[in-house]
Protein backbone atom coordinates (compact mmCIF):
# COMPACT_ATOMS: atom_id res chain seq x y z
CA UNK A 1 0.00 0.00 0.00
CA UNK A 2 1.34 3.39 -1.00
CA UNK A 3 0.79 5.90 1.82
CA UNK A 4 2.69 9.17 2.03
CA UNK A 5 3.13 11.91 4.60
CA UNK A 6 1.53 14.61 2.49
CA UNK A 7 2.14 17.38 5.01
CA UNK A 8 2.73 18.16 8.66
CA UNK A 9 2.37 21.27 10.78
CA UNK A 10 2.34 22.36 14.38
CA UNK A 11 1.26 25.28 16.51
CA UNK A 12 2.51 26.46 19.88
CA UNK A 13 0.99 29.16 22.08
CA UNK A 14 2.82 32.49 22.16
CA UNK A 15 3.05 32.59 25.96
CA UNK A 16 5.96 30.96 27.71
CA UNK A 17 7.45 30.25 31.08
CA UNK A 18 10.98 29.40 32.10
CA UNK A 19 11.69 25.86 33.22
CA UNK A 20 13.32 27.30 36.32
CA UNK A 21 10.07 29.09 37.21
CA UNK A 22 8.07 25.89 36.62
CA UNK A 23 10.32 23.84 38.86
CA UNK A 24 10.25 26.50 41.56
CA UNK A 25 6.45 26.74 41.48
CA UNK A 26 6.09 22.95 41.52
CA UNK A 27 8.86 22.48 44.09
CA UNK A 28 6.77 20.45 46.52
CA UNK A 29 5.48 18.16 43.79
CA UNK A 30 9.01 17.66 42.45
CA UNK A 31 10.42 16.92 45.89
CA UNK A 32 7.64 14.46 46.66
CA UNK A 33 8.10 12.66 43.35
CA UNK A 34 11.88 12.40 43.68
CA UNK A 35 11.95 11.58 47.40
CA UNK A 36 12.16 7.78 46.97
CA UNK A 37 15.25 8.08 44.75
CA UNK A 38 18.86 7.97 45.90
CA UNK A 39 20.57 11.35 46.52
CA UNK A 40 22.59 10.89 43.31
CA UNK A 41 19.49 10.14 41.26
CA UNK A 42 17.68 13.12 42.77
CA UNK A 43 20.56 15.38 41.83
CA UNK A 44 20.69 13.97 38.30
CA UNK A 45 16.94 14.40 37.77
CA UNK A 46 17.10 18.05 36.80
CA UNK A 47 20.51 17.91 35.11
CA UNK A 48 21.02 17.78 31.36
CA UNK A 49 17.44 18.60 30.50
CA UNK A 50 18.39 21.05 27.75
CA UNK A 51 15.04 22.77 28.24
CA UNK A 52 15.04 26.47 29.09
CA UNK A 53 11.44 27.48 28.46
CA UNK A 54 8.09 25.87 27.79
CA UNK A 55 5.16 27.29 25.85
CA UNK A 56 1.95 27.47 27.85
CA UNK A 57 -1.67 27.77 26.81
CA UNK A 58 -2.93 31.01 28.26
CA UNK A 59 -6.25 31.95 26.70
CA UNK A 60 -5.89 29.20 24.13
CA UNK A 61 -6.96 25.59 24.44
CA UNK A 62 -5.14 22.63 22.87
CA UNK A 63 -8.04 22.42 20.42
CA UNK A 64 -7.19 25.91 19.12
CA UNK A 65 -3.63 24.79 18.49
CA UNK A 66 -4.83 21.64 16.74
CA UNK A 67 -7.19 23.65 14.52
CA UNK A 68 -4.38 26.02 13.58
CA UNK A 69 -1.98 23.16 12.83
CA UNK A 70 -4.60 21.18 10.90
CA UNK A 71 -5.53 24.20 8.78
CA UNK A 72 -1.88 24.75 7.90
CA UNK A 73 -1.32 21.06 7.10
CA UNK A 74 -4.42 21.00 4.85
CA UNK A 75 -3.24 24.07 2.96
CA UNK A 76 0.29 22.67 2.65
CA UNK A 77 -1.07 19.40 1.26
CA UNK A 78 -3.05 21.30 -1.36
CA UNK A 79 -6.34 19.75 -0.30
CA UNK A 80 -9.54 20.95 1.36
CA UNK A 81 -11.35 19.74 4.44
CA UNK A 82 -13.81 17.84 2.25
CA UNK A 83 -10.96 15.59 1.08
CA UNK A 84 -10.39 14.25 4.59
CA UNK A 85 -11.87 10.78 5.09
CA UNK A 86 -10.49 9.96 8.52
CA UNK A 87 -9.50 12.05 11.55
CA UNK A 88 -7.52 10.38 14.31
CA UNK A 89 -7.12 12.34 17.52
CA UNK A 90 -4.38 10.89 19.70
CA UNK A 91 -4.14 13.66 22.30
CA UNK A 92 -2.93 12.57 25.71
CA UNK A 93 -3.78 15.75 27.64
CA UNK A 94 -6.36 17.68 25.57
CA UNK A 95 -7.15 20.00 28.48
CA UNK A 96 -9.30 19.79 31.58
CA UNK A 97 -11.81 22.13 29.97
CA UNK A 98 -12.17 20.09 26.82
CA UNK A 99 -15.88 19.94 26.04
CA UNK A 100 -15.76 17.18 23.50
CA UNK A 101 -15.88 13.43 23.45
CA UNK A 102 -13.06 13.80 21.00
CA UNK A 103 -11.75 16.93 19.38
CA UNK A 104 -11.90 15.01 16.09
CA UNK A 105 -15.65 15.60 15.93
CA UNK A 106 -15.52 19.38 16.32
CA UNK A 107 -12.50 19.48 14.05
CA UNK A 108 -14.36 17.63 11.29
CA UNK A 109 -17.16 20.20 11.45
CA UNK A 110 -14.91 23.26 11.50
CA UNK A 111 -12.63 21.97 8.73
CA UNK A 112 -15.57 21.00 6.52
CA UNK A 113 -14.70 17.31 6.67
CA UNK A 114 -18.36 16.55 7.23
CA UNK A 115 -18.25 12.90 6.20
CA UNK A 116 -14.97 11.94 7.81
CA UNK A 117 -14.75 9.01 10.15
CA UNK A 118 -13.66 10.43 13.51
CA UNK A 119 -11.67 8.43 16.01
CA UNK A 120 -9.92 9.18 19.25
CA UNK A 121 -7.67 7.23 21.53
CA UNK A 122 -5.61 7.98 24.59
CA UNK A 123 -2.59 5.76 24.53
CA UNK A 124 1.09 5.93 23.98
CA UNK A 125 1.94 9.44 25.19
CA UNK A 126 4.84 10.60 23.07
CA UNK A 127 4.83 7.24 21.31
CA UNK A 128 1.27 7.81 20.12
CA UNK A 129 2.12 9.16 16.66
CA UNK A 130 3.15 5.66 15.59
CA UNK A 131 -0.09 4.22 16.93
CA UNK A 132 -2.04 6.86 14.99
CA UNK A 133 -0.13 6.13 11.77
CA UNK A 134 -0.66 2.40 12.20
CA UNK A 135 -4.36 2.96 12.92
CA UNK A 136 -4.80 5.13 9.82
CA UNK A 137 -2.95 2.64 7.63
CA UNK A 138 -5.12 -0.14 8.99
CA UNK A 139 -8.30 1.73 8.06
CA UNK A 140 -6.88 2.59 4.66
CA UNK A 141 -6.01 -1.03 3.99
CA UNK A 142 -9.53 -2.26 4.77
CA UNK A 143 -11.67 0.58 3.38
CA UNK A 144 -10.96 1.82 -0.11
CA UNK A 145 -12.98 4.97 0.56
CA UNK A 146 -10.44 6.17 3.09
CA UNK A 147 -7.73 7.84 1.08
CA UNK A 148 -6.79 10.86 3.20
CA UNK A 149 -6.25 10.83 6.96
CA UNK A 150 -5.65 13.71 9.34
CA UNK A 151 -3.79 12.77 12.52
CA UNK A 152 -3.88 15.34 15.33
CA UNK A 153 -2.75 15.76 18.88
CA UNK A 154 -3.13 18.74 21.19
CA UNK A 155 -1.72 18.61 24.69
CA UNK A 156 -1.46 20.86 27.71
CA UNK A 157 -0.16 19.93 31.13
CA UNK A 158 -2.84 19.85 33.82
CA UNK A 159 -2.50 22.86 36.13
CA UNK A 160 0.52 22.50 38.40
CA UNK A 161 1.76 19.42 36.55
CA UNK A 162 4.36 20.67 34.09
CA UNK A 163 7.22 18.94 35.83
CA UNK A 164 7.55 15.29 34.93
CA UNK A 165 10.93 14.94 36.62
CA UNK A 166 12.99 12.81 36.65
CA UNK A 167 12.00 12.68 32.98
CA UNK A 168 11.17 16.08 31.53
CA UNK A 169 9.16 19.31 31.74
CA UNK A 170 6.09 19.60 29.56
CA UNK A 171 5.23 22.41 27.16
CA UNK A 172 1.96 22.82 25.26
CA UNK A 173 1.51 22.27 21.53
CA UNK A 174 -0.82 21.01 18.85
CA UNK A 175 0.17 19.26 15.65
CA UNK A 176 -1.27 17.70 12.53
CA UNK A 177 -0.09 15.17 9.97
CA UNK A 178 -1.85 14.33 6.73
CA UNK A 179 -1.42 10.88 5.22
CA UNK A 180 -2.58 10.16 1.67
CA UNK A 181 -3.02 6.81 -0.01
CA UNK A 182 -1.81 6.67 -3.60
CA UNK A 183 -0.46 10.19 -3.11
CA UNK A 184 2.50 11.49 -5.05
CA UNK A 185 3.89 14.10 -2.65
CA UNK A 186 5.79 13.61 0.57
CA UNK A 187 7.75 10.77 2.17
CA UNK A 188 6.50 7.24 1.46
CA UNK A 189 5.78 5.21 4.59
CA UNK A 190 7.85 2.02 4.54
CA UNK A 191 6.92 0.63 7.93
CA UNK A 192 5.62 1.36 11.39
CA UNK A 193 6.00 -0.71 14.52
CA UNK A 194 4.85 -0.19 18.08
CA UNK A 195 4.89 -2.20 21.28
CA UNK A 196 3.49 -1.72 24.75
CA UNK A 197 4.47 -3.26 28.06
CA UNK A 198 1.31 -2.88 30.09
CA UNK A 199 2.88 -3.82 33.40
CA UNK A 200 4.61 -0.42 33.26
CA UNK A 201 1.35 1.50 32.89
CA UNK A 202 1.80 3.26 36.22
CA UNK A 203 5.23 4.68 35.42
CA UNK A 204 3.45 7.87 34.35
CA UNK A 205 -0.24 7.89 35.21
CA UNK A 206 -3.06 10.38 34.97
CA UNK A 207 -5.21 10.44 38.10
CA UNK A 208 -7.86 12.72 39.51
CA UNK A 209 -7.21 14.28 42.91
CA UNK A 210 -9.81 16.56 44.53
CA UNK A 211 -11.49 16.97 41.17
CA UNK A 212 -8.31 17.95 39.34
CA UNK A 213 -6.18 15.96 36.97
CA UNK A 214 -2.72 15.11 38.19
CA UNK A 215 0.13 13.43 36.39
CA UNK A 216 1.73 11.01 38.77
CA UNK A 217 5.30 10.05 37.97
CA UNK A 218 6.52 6.89 39.69
CA UNK A 219 10.18 7.88 39.85
CA UNK A 220 11.53 4.55 41.16
CA UNK A 221 9.60 2.73 38.42
CA UNK A 222 11.06 5.07 35.80
CA UNK A 223 14.59 4.65 37.14
CA UNK A 224 14.58 0.94 37.91
CA UNK A 225 12.00 -0.57 35.56
CA UNK A 226 11.65 1.64 32.50
CA UNK A 227 15.09 3.13 31.91
CA UNK A 228 17.07 -0.14 31.96
CA UNK A 229 15.02 -1.38 28.99
CA UNK A 230 14.10 1.96 27.42
CA UNK A 231 16.71 2.08 24.65
CA UNK A 232 16.85 -1.69 24.31
CA UNK A 233 13.18 -1.89 23.29
CA UNK A 234 13.52 1.13 21.03
CA UNK A 235 16.62 -0.42 19.44
CA UNK A 236 14.86 -3.73 18.84
CA UNK A 237 11.92 -1.96 17.19
CA UNK A 238 14.28 0.09 15.04
CA UNK A 239 16.02 -3.08 13.91
CA UNK A 240 12.69 -4.77 13.21
CA UNK A 241 11.40 -1.92 11.05
CA UNK A 242 14.66 -1.58 9.16
CA UNK A 243 15.01 -5.34 8.61
CA UNK A 244 11.50 -5.53 7.18
CA UNK A 245 12.67 -3.18 4.41
CA UNK A 246 16.08 -4.89 4.09
CA UNK A 247 17.77 -1.78 5.47
CA UNK A 248 20.11 -1.09 8.36
CA UNK A 249 21.04 1.80 10.63
CA UNK A 250 23.69 3.09 8.24
CA UNK A 251 21.01 3.68 5.59
CA UNK A 252 19.13 6.19 7.73
CA UNK A 253 19.71 9.82 6.72
CA UNK A 254 17.62 11.53 9.39
CA UNK A 255 16.71 10.35 12.87
CA UNK A 256 13.66 12.21 14.14
CA UNK A 257 13.39 11.74 17.88
CA UNK A 258 11.56 13.23 20.87
CA UNK A 259 12.52 16.37 22.78
CA UNK A 260 12.18 14.80 26.21
CA UNK A 261 15.57 16.05 27.34
CA UNK A 262 19.06 16.56 25.99
CA UNK A 263 20.34 13.63 28.04
CA UNK A 264 17.65 11.42 26.51
CA UNK A 265 18.55 12.62 23.02
CA UNK A 266 22.19 11.80 23.84
CA UNK A 267 21.11 8.31 24.88
CA UNK A 268 19.25 7.82 21.61
CA UNK A 269 22.23 9.17 19.68
CA UNK A 270 24.48 6.61 21.37
CA UNK A 271 21.89 3.92 20.69
CA UNK A 272 21.98 4.49 16.94
CA UNK A 273 25.74 4.97 16.91
CA UNK A 274 25.88 8.63 15.94
CA UNK A 275 28.81 10.82 17.06
CA UNK A 276 28.31 13.69 19.48
CA UNK A 277 26.29 16.40 17.74
CA UNK A 278 25.00 13.82 15.27
CA UNK A 279 21.36 14.59 15.94
CA UNK A 280 19.94 17.84 14.58
CA UNK A 281 19.31 20.77 16.88
CA UNK A 282 15.61 21.10 17.66
CA UNK A 283 13.49 23.88 19.23
CA UNK A 284 13.28 21.90 22.46
CA UNK A 285 15.02 24.59 24.52
CA UNK A 286 12.18 27.00 23.76
CA UNK A 287 9.21 24.60 23.54
CA UNK A 288 9.91 21.97 26.19
CA UNK A 289 8.68 18.43 25.69
CA UNK A 290 5.36 18.54 23.85
CA UNK A 291 4.50 14.82 24.01
CA UNK A 292 3.69 13.31 20.62
CA UNK A 293 3.98 16.70 18.89
CA UNK A 294 7.76 16.55 19.38
CA UNK A 295 8.24 14.34 16.35
CA UNK A 296 6.05 16.52 14.16
CA UNK A 297 7.84 19.67 15.33
CA UNK A 298 11.26 18.18 14.62
CA UNK A 299 10.17 16.85 11.22
CA UNK A 300 8.71 20.24 10.23
CA UNK A 301 11.93 21.97 11.21
CA UNK A 302 14.06 19.56 9.18
CA UNK A 303 11.87 20.28 6.16
CA UNK A 304 11.91 24.04 6.73
CA UNK A 305 15.69 23.97 6.86
CA UNK A 306 15.71 22.12 3.53
CA UNK A 307 17.67 19.24 4.98
CA UNK A 308 15.41 16.47 3.70
CA UNK A 309 16.17 15.60 0.09
CA UNK A 310 14.35 13.21 -2.23
CA UNK A 311 15.32 9.60 -1.68
CA UNK A 312 16.56 10.09 1.86
CA UNK A 313 15.51 7.71 4.61
CA UNK A 314 13.72 9.11 7.67
CA UNK A 315 13.38 7.20 10.92
CA UNK A 316 10.92 8.52 13.50
CA UNK A 317 11.27 7.07 17.00
CA UNK A 318 9.73 7.80 20.38
CA UNK A 319 8.44 6.17 23.54
CA UNK A 320 5.94 7.18 26.17
CA UNK A 321 3.08 6.42 28.48
CA UNK A 322 1.79 2.88 28.42
CA UNK A 323 4.64 2.12 28.41
CA UNK A 324 4.82 2.34 24.64
CA UNK A 325 7.63 2.31 22.11
CA UNK A 326 7.17 3.21 18.44
CA UNK A 327 9.20 3.55 15.25
CA UNK A 328 8.14 4.73 11.79
CA UNK A 329 10.25 4.53 8.65
CA UNK A 330 9.70 6.67 5.55
CA UNK A 331 11.47 7.41 2.26
CA UNK A 332 11.46 11.07 1.16
Amino acid sequence: MNVRIASAAYAVPPDGETVQAVLERERVRVQTTLAPLSPQARQKAAEGLGLSRVRVCGGKEPYDLVLEAASTAIADAGITGKDIDLIVDYSTFPGENSQYLSIAHKLSAELGAETSLNLSFKAGGCGALHLAIKTAMGWMSTDENIKTALLVTGDTAPAGNRSLLPVTVQGDAGSAVILRRQGTEGPLLLGVEAMTLGHLHNAIALIKTNGHLEIKVDAPCIENEVMPIYYLNLYRLVQKVLAASSLNLNDVDHFIYSNISQRDRDGFRRMVGLPEGGLPVTPMADYGHTFASDLVINYVHLRREGRIRPGQLLLFASAGIGFTWGVTLARA
Binding site: N224, M227, P228, I229, Y230, Y231, L232, R236, M271
Partner: protein
Protein backbone atom coordinates in the same frame (compact mmCIF):
# COMPACT_ATOMS: atom_id res chain seq x y z
CA UNK B 1 32.01 -22.42 29.55
CA UNK B 2 29.86 -21.93 32.62
CA UNK B 3 27.06 -19.45 32.02
CA UNK B 4 28.10 -17.00 34.72
CA UNK B 5 31.74 -17.09 33.64
CA UNK B 6 30.86 -16.28 30.05
CA UNK B 7 28.60 -13.42 31.08
CA UNK B 8 31.11 -12.08 33.61
CA UNK B 9 33.80 -12.08 30.93
CA UNK B 10 31.56 -10.32 28.42
CA UNK B 11 30.53 -7.65 30.90
CA UNK B 12 34.09 -6.99 32.00
CA UNK B 13 35.38 -6.77 28.44
CA UNK B 14 32.54 -4.95 26.74
CA UNK B 15 30.36 -3.14 29.20
CA UNK B 16 32.49 -2.23 32.19
CA UNK B 17 35.64 -1.45 30.28
CA UNK B 18 38.72 -1.83 32.47
CA UNK B 19 36.91 -3.45 35.38
CA UNK B 20 38.42 -6.75 36.41
CA UNK B 21 36.09 -9.73 36.24
CA UNK B 22 36.81 -10.63 39.83
CA UNK B 23 35.01 -7.49 40.95
CA UNK B 24 31.74 -8.70 39.50
CA UNK B 25 30.30 -10.95 42.18
CA UNK B 26 27.40 -13.28 41.50
CA UNK B 27 25.06 -10.99 43.41
CA UNK B 28 26.50 -7.65 42.31
CA UNK B 29 23.56 -5.48 41.19
CA UNK B 30 24.55 -4.64 37.64
CA UNK B 31 21.58 -2.51 36.64
CA UNK B 32 20.29 -0.97 39.85
CA UNK B 33 23.91 -0.56 40.96
CA UNK B 34 24.56 1.61 37.92
CA UNK B 35 27.21 -0.68 36.42
CA UNK B 36 25.17 -1.33 33.26
CA UNK B 37 23.17 1.52 31.82
CA UNK B 38 20.34 1.47 29.32
CA UNK B 39 22.70 1.44 26.34
CA UNK B 40 24.80 -1.31 27.94
CA UNK B 41 21.68 -3.46 28.14
CA UNK B 42 21.47 -3.51 24.35
CA UNK B 43 24.88 -5.16 24.10
CA UNK B 44 24.26 -7.50 27.01
CA UNK B 45 20.98 -8.85 25.64
CA UNK B 46 22.42 -9.19 22.15
CA UNK B 47 25.33 -11.16 23.63
CA UNK B 48 23.06 -13.46 25.64
CA UNK B 49 20.85 -14.21 22.65
CA UNK B 50 23.82 -14.91 20.38
CA UNK B 51 25.96 -16.82 22.89
CA UNK B 52 23.24 -19.11 24.20
CA UNK B 53 21.06 -19.17 21.09
CA UNK B 54 17.96 -18.06 22.95
CA UNK B 55 15.41 -15.35 22.26
CA UNK B 56 13.92 -13.05 24.85
CA UNK B 57 10.34 -11.90 24.80
CA UNK B 58 10.02 -8.16 25.57
CA UNK B 59 8.31 -8.94 28.90
CA UNK B 60 11.25 -11.11 30.00
CA UNK B 61 13.78 -8.32 29.75
CA UNK B 62 13.51 -6.55 33.05
CA UNK B 63 15.57 -5.63 36.03
CA UNK B 64 14.24 -8.57 38.05
CA UNK B 65 15.63 -11.09 35.58
CA UNK B 66 18.83 -9.39 34.54
CA UNK B 67 20.15 -7.46 37.52
CA UNK B 68 22.74 -9.96 38.74
CA UNK B 69 24.79 -12.80 37.29
CA UNK B 70 22.75 -15.19 39.41
CA UNK B 71 19.47 -13.95 37.94
CA UNK B 72 20.80 -13.97 34.40
CA UNK B 73 22.08 -17.51 34.82
CA UNK B 74 18.73 -18.63 36.18
CA UNK B 75 16.86 -17.10 33.26
CA UNK B 76 19.24 -18.52 30.66
CA UNK B 77 19.14 -21.96 32.28
CA UNK B 78 15.34 -21.95 32.22
CA UNK B 79 15.28 -20.95 28.58
CA UNK B 80 17.84 -23.59 27.64
CA UNK B 81 15.83 -26.23 29.45
CA UNK B 82 12.66 -25.25 27.60
CA UNK B 83 14.53 -25.10 24.30
CA UNK B 84 16.20 -28.50 24.80
CA UNK B 85 12.92 -30.09 25.89
CA UNK B 86 11.30 -28.75 22.74
CA UNK B 87 14.11 -30.06 20.59
CA UNK B 88 13.93 -33.48 22.25
CA UNK B 89 10.21 -33.65 21.67
CA UNK B 90 10.35 -32.71 18.01
Amino acid sequence: MEIKTAIRQFIAENVLLGVHQARIEDATPLVTGGLIDSIGMIGLVAFLEAQFKVEFEPREINVHNLNTLEQIEELISKKLTVRDAGAAGS
